[in-house]
């Protein structure tokens, strides 16, 4: 069995650690190189995952290594140049969400990957959740009738760091937390958003220069009405990181999905008066990375493509536009 040679660019996004773990776990993958513009962080990761070669410059990595695929987990605004470089070198791309910070960048990434004939997958890990898959099957079976309304939340704590730097992240909580559930809405409805309205709140954290709470309303072309709460509204003291929660209303039934409820609770005398939640549900990162590898070896279409990444990004960008203009925004934006 030939092992696929994998590289990873940047541990800026915390998901990189989980993807790196999976790269080490997969028997048909050889995790050969890490590139990171933060030298100390990258070298530390090399030691942690037993990766032999480190590059400060990702271009150098593509030049020196014969990679089959690369995982891009850098700051959002850096995805574009790195993905383009990967495509130029004929390397398949697994790119963290949001795909980019502008539609122009996203379109360019998709075009170049297509031209180079490489796979491009956006890291919409929720499409690999067993709970979400059950929902998708149920909807497709028609058991809930015609889908009419969706309410979703993707709450979180404030991740800080570059996530609150508009230059690098492209925005705040809207950019960070809209796309996962927006993607699931597109997947579930099989339709595209036609209209977006959003309101931004006053920041919970006064020191931030990007938004940390907002509410988004959407209409889909097939008539489904939806809402998204993408807010970093959970305090640091909150017992869990946040949630992916969806209510789906069909003409013949209703469904509630709470993606991370599969937990064991513990409480410890040293921890103060609180519960600690220990998640035991499916490992979405493992499922996604291993499926992407399968897409390469068996020439399959990734479950969430670059186009899916772009469409979800468009919803987040439409929310910003709506807030700026104080009125509903029609899609497509371009």
């Amino acid at each position: 069995m030939r092992r696929l040679r994998a590289g990873l660019i940047s541990f800026a996004h915390m998901h990189a650690y989980s993807y790196a773990r999976v790269l080490k776990e997969l028997p048909n993958v050889e995790f050969v190189a890490i590139a990171d513009d933060d030298k100390a962080r990258g070298e530390e990761a090399c030691r942690r995952y037993g990766v032999k070669r480190f590059y400060e410059d990702f271009r150098e990595m593509f030049k020196r290594e014969e990679l089959d695929f690369v995982v891009i987990t850098s700051e959002n605004a850096k995805h574009h140049d790195q993905a383009v470089e990967a495509a130029e070198n004929g390397v398949h791309i697994l790119c963290e969400k949001p795909i980019a910070t502008s539609l122009r960048d996203a379109d360019d990434m998709i075009r170049r990957a297509r031209k180079a004939g490489v796979k491009f997958q956006t890291c919409f890990v929720m499409r690999y959740s067993d709970v979400v898959l059950r929902v998708k099957e149920l909807l497709d079976s028609g058991e809930l009738g015609r889908l009419m309304a969706i309410t979703a939340t993707n709450h979180g704590k404030c991740p800080g760091g570059w996530f609150v730097d508009k230059e690098l992240a492209g925005g705040g909580t809207i950019m960070d937390h809209t796309v996962h559930v927006a993607d699931l809405m597109r997947w579930f409805t099989g339709s595209e958003a036609s209209k977006v309205y959003a309101e931004m709140g006053i920041n919970i954290r006064k020191q931030l220069t990007v938004e940390d709470n907002a509410l988004i309303m959407l209409s889909f072309r097939n008539g489904v009405q939806a809402s998204i709460d993408p807010s970093w509204s959970r305090p640091d003291s909150f017992p869990i990181w946040g949630d992916v929660y969806m209510e789906l209303l069909g003409s013949d039934g209703r469904l509630m999905l709470d993606g991370f409820r599969q937990v064991v609770y513990s409480s410890n005398v040293k921890g103060g008066p609180t519960w600690v939640h220990h998640y035991w549900g499916c490992d979405v990162d493992y499922e996604m990375v291993s499926h992407f590898v399968k897409c390469i070896t068996e020439d399959l279409e990734p479950r969430a493509t670059g186009f899916d990444g772009r469409q979800a990004l468009e919803i987040a960008l439409a929310a910003y536009k709506s807030i700026e203009e104080g009125k509903p925004v029609e899609l497509p934006l371009l």
Binding site: A149, G201, R205, K206, N213, M217, D229, S251, P328
Partner: protein
């Protein structure tokens, strides 16, 4: 105001013995300060049923009850579209009046009622029960105590199966639809919690083809202080769906949330079904009606006078308008 001596109880008449009339009658019967003396319902059997249950008098018209009972309190529990006429009649007979929410179906009707209440000098309250519910008033207490710091963003759900107990709910002209009848609870609670007014509202609502009312709504509120809130209200849940409420508010220092699904202490499994109960005898309805009785006895202003109720309704009317036009609506609405 009627003279009430020591040891005397306020004579109370409930008008309308439907869903909320039954709830209120049962609570009035438990309040020491009050004597439920009569129940009015245009359906004679229903009035008789109430009379037998509470050993009180039965009437089929309010006029007759006002005439014979000379009540201190009249509690209007009829369908929304009948409120104005009955409230005005009761006020006119110089009784104190508590009226079930929503007060009325137009701002003009609300203003007429408020004017009449003011001129009568009687106590008048709209029964926005959520302000008295122990779980919601705990949220209010915590937020006032600084648990979340300065509030920033809230969300509320109020999800129900189709109201099977009466047909008028599913007629937009008679109930106002799911926003005016159901989302109103959370809109009112949010106004009270934030001590602020809504400046802009955007809403989406579903009206099934075979139903004459909106039955599922998503409402986005922006308050003057900049706080934002999402409110969802539904009568579109499948039959047998357990009534579900959820509320959370996050602020600069923390978060407070309540979830009816997670706070049910009693689950009963019987052959063929599950029943989940959260019993509390001194519930929001009892506390609300007792509060009104005490306002009457102690000459105090009730928690939700007509002026408060109309502000909540204005937001709901604006939300309905937004759901129909697809555009955000700014508040306050223009005077018609």
């Amino acid at each position: 105001m009627p003279e009430v001596g020591v040891g005397e109880r306020l004579k109370t008449v409930v008008v309308g013995y439907g869903f909320i009339g039954r709830v209120h009658s049962e609570r009035w019967s438990k309040i020491d300060e009050v004597k439920l003396t009569a129940v009015v319902d245009i359906v004679p059997e229903r009035a008789r049923e109430a009379a037998e249950t509470y050993r009180c008098n039965a009437y089929t018209s309010l006029s007759e009850a006002l005439d014979r009972e000379k009540p201190d309190i009249v509690d209007i529990c009829t369908p929304t579209y009948t409120h104005k006429q009955l409230v005005l009649e009761a006020l006119n007979a110089h009784t104190n009046v508590v009226c079930e929410k929503p007060l009325a179906l137009s701002l003009q009707d609300c203003r007429e009622i408020i004017k009449a209440a003011k001129e009568s000098g009687m106590k008048f309250m709209v029964a926005h029960c959520l302000r008295f519910f122990p779980d919601y008033s705990t949220v209010k207490r915590l937020v006032e105590g600084g648990e979340v710091g300065e509030p920033r963003i809230a969300r509320a759900y109020r999800l129900s199966a189709k109201p099977g107990w009466a047909t008028w709910y599913l007629n937009q002209d008679k109930s106002g639809g799911v926003i005016v009848d159901l989302a109103i609870h959370d809109v009112d609670f949010l106004r009270w919690l934030f001590a602020d007014e809504v400046s802009r509202v955007y809403a989406q609502a579903l009206k099934p083809r075979d139903v004459k009312a909106q039955t599922h709504a998503q409402v986005l509120l922006k308050f003057r202080k900049g706080y934002i809130a999402f409110v969802e209200a539904s009568w579109s849940m499948p039959d047998g769906f357990p009534f579900t409420t959820y509320f959370e508010v996050a602020g600069t220092d923390g978060i407070v949330l309540l979830d009816s699904r997670a706070s049910t202490p009693l689950t009963i499994h019987r052959r063929g079904g599950v029943e989940e109960l959260s019993p509390v005898d001194r519930d929001g309805y009892l506390l609300e009606l007792q509060h009104f009785a005490r306002c009457v006895l102690e000459d105090k202003t009730p928690m939700v006078p007509g002026e408060e109720a109309v502000k909540t309704l204005e937001v709901c009317f604006a939300a309905v308008e937004s759901s129909l036009t697809g555009e955000p609506v700014n508040l306050p609405l223009e005077e018609v």
